[in-house]
Amino acid sequence: MDSPALEENLDAVKFDLKKTIDELQEFYFLSANGLLGAIRRPFYYHDFIDQMDYAGAGSLLIVCLVSLFIGMALSLQLAAELSVMGLKMYTGKVVGISIIREIGPVAAALVYAGRVGAGMASELGLMVLGHQVDSLRVFGVDPVKKLVTPRILSSIIMLPALTLVGDAIALLGAYYIAVFVSHQSGYVYWTSIRYELTFENVFSGAFKPLVFGFIISAISCYMGLSTRGGAVGLRHSTTTAVVLSIVMIIVADFVLTRILLYVLGFSV
């Protein structure tokens, strides 16, 4: 390769690298400022309540539906496998641990990313493209406090709440399969579930969605606010917000599981 072409390529790589570093820096600033907005005035109560309604109440039905079928499917699989080994009575225990600690938080977060994360990114993206965010800045309103803080706060409150409801529905679904399809004792099922409702398990299952809520809302707000280039740009930022959120949920789930197991004293 001749030297001018090489130089040109190097310049392009430098430009891309600088852009990536700038974007990462912007993302961290936006996330931190969005979170800190909760303790800085002014606080936009109405926007916060609106977001709680949209993210929480609006997602309840779909989270319940998904959780119900996940619980039933899991119970079916486990009952089939455990009955081969003559351990059918452990279905409740294994279902309980799986749902409370792992599947419930992740499933609710994935549904939340698909519904609320995509909604946040597209709404903010449209506001950027329609100069509504510029209007806020010109009027002297901080878009981070007005738009990002209510979304982050509502997410870190509503996703744990949705997860708890989703867990309960999943356990009910699993109960239906265990008792009415696999013909197990309902008393044994609920006793083993109650046995798994320890502080460690419940804390583990409630802490993860809090972090997931922050990750989804921060990524979605960032992608929405960095939308450029019309309808195609909006499509790109919405898709990226959902895909990145899903990947980060899975990665964060592994990291959190490792940390929580260590902190809560489980041996691996």
Binding site: F15, L126, G130, H131, Q132, D134, S135, R137, V138, F139, G140, V141, D142, R228
Partner: protein, 245 residues
């Protein structure tokens, strides 16, 4: 009031605005003309500190805004009243709430006072009947009028900025918006209008800047613009000449 010194800006590696220098007084009526993507709106966004130049210096009333943060820029921005392209109304709020937005944010006015002020402003711009409508229920012309009312509610501006205020409107509505712009500037407040509609620019402005490929290729009055020998400007003025004929 506004001073650009050798300002260059680009959204990527390719500059949108190149080495632009200009000075605009607070009582001037300026139109920035040029085709799509020539950097007209970029000039307005740079003036308000919504984007930062890659190089060069921008001053507002002698105050260099180039390195200022968002908190400092808020004070600078209050000197202007801007109407963005297509109005940029908040689409989750109705007309009343859009116009009342800044009154609620920055004043201690009671609900009654806010209501009275909103009705008064909507009457000034001629859309009092649309007070309860949502932005998507408004026509293009009404959209711009509400946006103007909202910008008036904000602060006492030293200068009005209009970004493509008449674009997409039929000639009657565009003419009404031009009349409104002229009425609002009667008190001697200056204005900058960014547009590619030469006819509308001639109705409201006295000084004209023409942009091509991110460079200011003309800065002068209407006779000067009409007599320009630049072929690109000549082509651009064809619409106006056709209307005069």
């Amino acid at each position: 009031m506004i001073l650009f010194e050798n300002v260059t800006f680009g959204y990527g590696p390719k500059p949108v605005l190149q080495d632009a220098s200009l000075s605009i007084g607070s009582d001037e009526r300026v139109a920035i003309l040029g085709g799509s993507g020539e950097g007209k709106t970029t000039i307005l966004r740079l003036m308000l500190g919504l984007i930062r130049p890659d190089s060069g210096r921008i001053s507002i009333e002698g105050d260099d805004i180039t390195g200022k943060d968002e908190d400092d820029l808020r004070e600078i921005r209050r000197k202007f009243s801007i109407v963005f392209q297509e109005g940029a109304l908040f689409d989750s709020l109705n007309v009343k709430e859009n116009v009342a937005f800044c009154l609620r944010e920055f004043t201690d006015m009671s609900e009654g006072e806010i209501d009275a002020k909103v009705r008064e402003l909507l009457k000034v711009v001629g859309v009092a009947h649309a007070i309860d409508l949502m932005p998507d229920e408004l026509s293009g012309g009404m959209h711009r009028r509400v946006a103007i009312a909202r910008s008036l509610a904000a602060f006492e501006p030293k200068m009005f900025l209009y970004d493509e205020a008449t674009t997409g409107l039929d000639p009657i509505n565009a003419d009404r918006i031009c009349q409104l712009i002229n009425e609002l500037c009667k008190a001697g407040t200056g204005l900058i209008i960014v547009t590619h509609k030469v006819v509308d620019a001639f109705k409201v402005a006295k000084r004209f800047l023409f942009l091509q490929n991110g460079r200011i290729i003309f800065d002068g009055d209407m006779p000067g613009l009409l007599q320009s020998e630049n072929p690109h400007i000549g082509e651009f003025l064809n619409e106006f000449r056709f209307k005069v004929d």
